[in-house]
C-alpha cells in the first residue's frame, strides 16, 4: 500500500536502525576490550566476527521476505521498523489480523490500532531488561561463582530444552503435514512436511560431510563455514524441491 509509506515513519525507521547499529558497535567494542584484558587473542575475535557475519546472512533473508509479505498490508516503512527491532513476521501478521478481523484493506483507525498492538505486545521483554535484569543477572552470576556445576547444569538444561522443543516441533509438525499444500490463513505461506523433513535431513547430512572432510582430510578451515554452508545447502534444496511437493496452482 503506497499511501502507507509515510516519510515521518521512514525517518523514524532510519533513526531506529542507527540506534540498533550504534548499540551493537558499542557492545562489540566493549566485549573486545574486555576480552583483551583477560588474555583473549585477536585470532579468537576475528574468528567470532567472521563466522557470525557469514552465519547471519542466510537467516536474514526470510526477514526481508517477511517485510515483503507485510508491505502488502502495511506499506514499507512500518514492517521495516517492526522487523528491525524485536518482532517476527508471524506475530506482526497476527497482530494485524487481530485488529482487522481479516479485512483485505486496513482503514486508518485499524492501521494505528495495529501498530499500537504490535508495540505494546512486545514491550515486556525489553522493559524487564531495563528494570529487573541487572538484579536477575546478579543472582545468575552469584550462582555461577558459588556453584558453577549447578549453573552449568541449568544452562545445559535450557539449551537442551530449546533444542528438544525445536526439533520435536519440526519433526512432528513435518510428519503431520507430509502432504500439506494449503497456505496458512494469515501469512499465505505453505509449509509442506515432506520439504521440512528433507531440508532437516539435508542440513544434517551437509554438516556431517563437513565434519568428515575436516577430520579425514584435515581441512580445518571448513570448521568456520560448516554451519552457514549447511544452512545454505539445505535452503537451496528446499527451493528446488518445494515446487515438486507443492505444485503452483
Amino acid at each position: 500500500m503506497k499511501e502507507y509509506n509515510f516519510p515521518l515513519v521512514f525517518v523514524l525507521g532510519a533513526v531506529i536502525a542507527a540506534v540498533v547499529i550504534a548499540m551493537s558497535v558499542v557492545f562489540l567494542l566493549k566485549a573486545i576490550k574486555r576480552g583483551k584484558q583477560i588474555g583473549m587473542t585477536n585470532e579468537q575475535f576475528k574468528k567470532a566476527i567472521t563466522t557470525s557475519a557469514v552465519f547471519s546472512i542466510v537467516p536474514s533473508i526470510p526477514i526481508v521476505i517477511g517485510i515483503g509479505i507485510m508491505m502488502q498490508l502495511l506499506g514499507l516503512a512500518i514492517p521495516w521498523i517492526r522487523l528491525t527491532v524485536i518482532g517476527a513476521l508471524q506475530y506482526e501478521i497476527s497482530a494485524v489480523y487481530a485488529v482487522s478481523d481479516g479485512a483485505a484493506e486496513l482503514t486508518a483507525g485499524m492501521l494505528v490500532s495495529a501498530t499500537l498492538v504490535m508495540t505494546i505486545s512486545i514491550i515486556s521483554g525489553p522493559l524487564f531488561n531495563a528494570i529487573f535484569y541487572k538484579k536477575y543477572q546478579g543472582k545468575i552470576m552469584d550462582l555461577q561463582v558459588k556453584n558453577k556445576k549447578k549453573m552449568d547444569a541449568i544452562t545445559g538444561s535450557l539449551l537442551s530444552g530449546m533444542l528438544a522443543g525445536i526439533i520435536s516441533a519440526i519433526l512432528i509438525g513435518g510428519f503431520f503435514t507430509l502432504t500439506n499444500t494449503k497456505a496458512d490463513g494469515d501469512s499465505g505461506i505453505v509449509t509442506n512436511g515432506s520439504v521440512t523433513l528433507i531440508t532437516l535431513a539435508v542440513s544434517m547430512g551437509i554438516i556431517a560431510i563437513c565434519g568428515v572432510i575436516m577430520k579425514v582430510f584435515k581441512q580445518k578451515w571448513i570448521e568456520n563455514y560448516a554451519l552457514p554452508l549447511s544452512i545454505l545447502g539445505a535452503m537451496l534444496v528446499a527451493f528446488f524441491i518445494h515446487p515438486i511437493f507443492v505444485p503452483v496452482a
Partner: protein, 318 residues
C-alpha cells in the same frame, strides 16, 4: 663430631628448603588469589558497564518504538479504533507474558550483552542464539567462563549489525520488485528453521544428548497430542521451545538428584526398607574401608617420619 655436624647441617638445610618451598607456595597462592580478585573485579566492572549502556539503549529503543503508532497516527490523521483495540487485549496479554518468560529463560544462555541486544533486535531462537552457539564452537570457549560471555556478545552484536544492514539493502529491491521477490522467495521461508537446526543439532548433540533425550521424547508426546486433537498450530516452534525448557529443567533435576529423591521417597513411604538398608550398609562399609585405608596411610607416613627423626637423633647422640 664431624658426622654430627654434617647430619645437623643436612637437617637444617632440609628444614630451610621446606620453609622456602612453603613460602613460595604461599606467595603463588596469594598471587593467584590477587589475579582472581582482579579478574572478578574487572568482570564486575565490565558487567556494570554493559548494564549501564544496555539500559540506556533499551530505553532509547523502547521510546523510539513507541513513536511508531504516534507517527502513524499523525501521518494518517486518525486515532486508534478503540473498540477493535479492546478486542485484542487477550492477544496483547498473551504476548506480554511470552515476552517475560523469554526474558527470564533466555538470560542464562545469552549473557549480559547478548540479553540486551537480543531483546531489542529480536529473532532470538532462529538467528541470535544459533549464531552465538556457532561462534562459541568455532572460538572453542568453555561454557560458564567470561570468554564464553565475550564471544556470545561479539556474535550477537555482529549478527545484529549484519541483519540490520541486510534489511536496509533488501528494502531497495523490495521497493522496486516487491511482488516478484516475494513470489520467488516466499515459499522457502518456512524452511529456515529446519535448515539451521538440522546442522546445529548435529553440532550440539555430542555434548547434550544425555540432557536432551527425556525432554525431546516428552516434547514429541505433547506435539503428537496437539496435532492429533487439531491444535497443531499451537505446537509451533516458539511454544515448543518453552515447553522443552520446562521439561528439560524438570527431567534433568530428577536425573541429577535421583539418589536424593530416591532416599526421600523411601523415607516417606517406607518401601524397600531392607534394600535401602543394605545399600546404606554397603555404602558405609565402603566409606569405612576408605577411611581405614586413609588412616593407615597417614599413620604409616607419620610412623616413617617419626622413625627418620628418631634415627637422626640417635645418630646425633652416637
Amino acid at each position: 663430631m664431624k658426622k654430627d655436624q654434617e647430619i645437623l647441617e643436612n637437617v637444617e638445610n632440609q628444614v630451610f628448603d621446606n620453609t622456602e618451598e612453603i613460602q613460595n607456595e604461599e606467595a603463588n597462592l596469594i598471587e593467584n588469589n590477587n589475579v582472581d580478585d582482579k579478574k572478578l573485579e574487572g568482570q564486575i566492572k565490565y558487567n556494570n558497564d554493559i548494564h549501564k549502556f544496555g539500559r540506556i539503549f533499551t530505553l532509547i529503543a523502547l521510546g523510539l518504538m513507541c513513536f511508531v503508532p504516534i507517527f502513524t497516527a499523525i501521518s494518517v490523521k486518525s486515532g486508534p479504533d478503540w473498540g477493535r483495540l479492546a478486542k485484542t487485549i487477550p492477544f496483547t496479554l498473551g504476548f506480554l507474558a511470552i515476552g517475560l518468560i523469554e526474558a527470564f529463560s533466555y538470560a542464562p544462555l545469552l549473557g549480559v550483552g547478548g540479553q540486551y541486544l537480543s531483546f531489542i533486535t529480536g529473532n532470538i531462537s532462529n538467528l541470535k542464539l544459533p549464531c552465538a552457539i556457532n561462534a562459541q564452537q568455532v572460538a572453542k570457549v568453555e561454557q560458564g567462563t567470561e570468554e564464553h560471555e565475550i564471544i556470545t556478545t561479539i556474535a550477537i552484536a555482529v549478527s545484529s549489525i549484519v541483519t540490520t544492514l541486510i534489511i536496509i539493502i533488501g528494502l531497495i529491491p523490495l521497493a522496486i520488485y516487491q511482488q516478484k521477490i516475494v513470489e520467488v522467495l516466499k515459499p522457502i521461508s518456512p524452511y529456515v528453521m529446519p535448515a539451521i537446526f538440522g546442522a546445529l543439532t548435529m553440532v550440539l548433540i555430542a555434548v547434550y544428548w544425555k540432557n536432551s533425550i527425556a525432554p525431546f521424547l516428552l516434547c514429541c508426546v505433547v506435539a503428537i497430542i496437539m496435532h492429533s486433537i487439531g491444535m497443531g498450530g499451537t505446537a509451533s516452534i516458539s511454544t515448543m521451545v518453552m515447553v522443552g525448557m520446562v521439561f528439560s529443567i524438570v527431567s534433568n533435576y530428577i536425573i541429577y538428584n535421583r539418589e536424593k529423591i530416591k532416599e526421600k521417597l523411601v523415607t516417606k513411604f517406607g518401601k524397600n526398607k531392607s534394600k535401602h538398608k543394605d545399600d546404606v550398609t554397603a555404602d558405609s562399609s565402603e566409606e569405612t574401608e576408605l577411611e581405614k585405608a586413609e588412616t593407615k596411610a597417614d599413620s604409616s607416613e607419620d610412623l616413617k617420619v617419626e622413625k627418620a627423626e628418631a634415627k637422626a637423633e640417635d645418630e646425633i647422640r652416637e
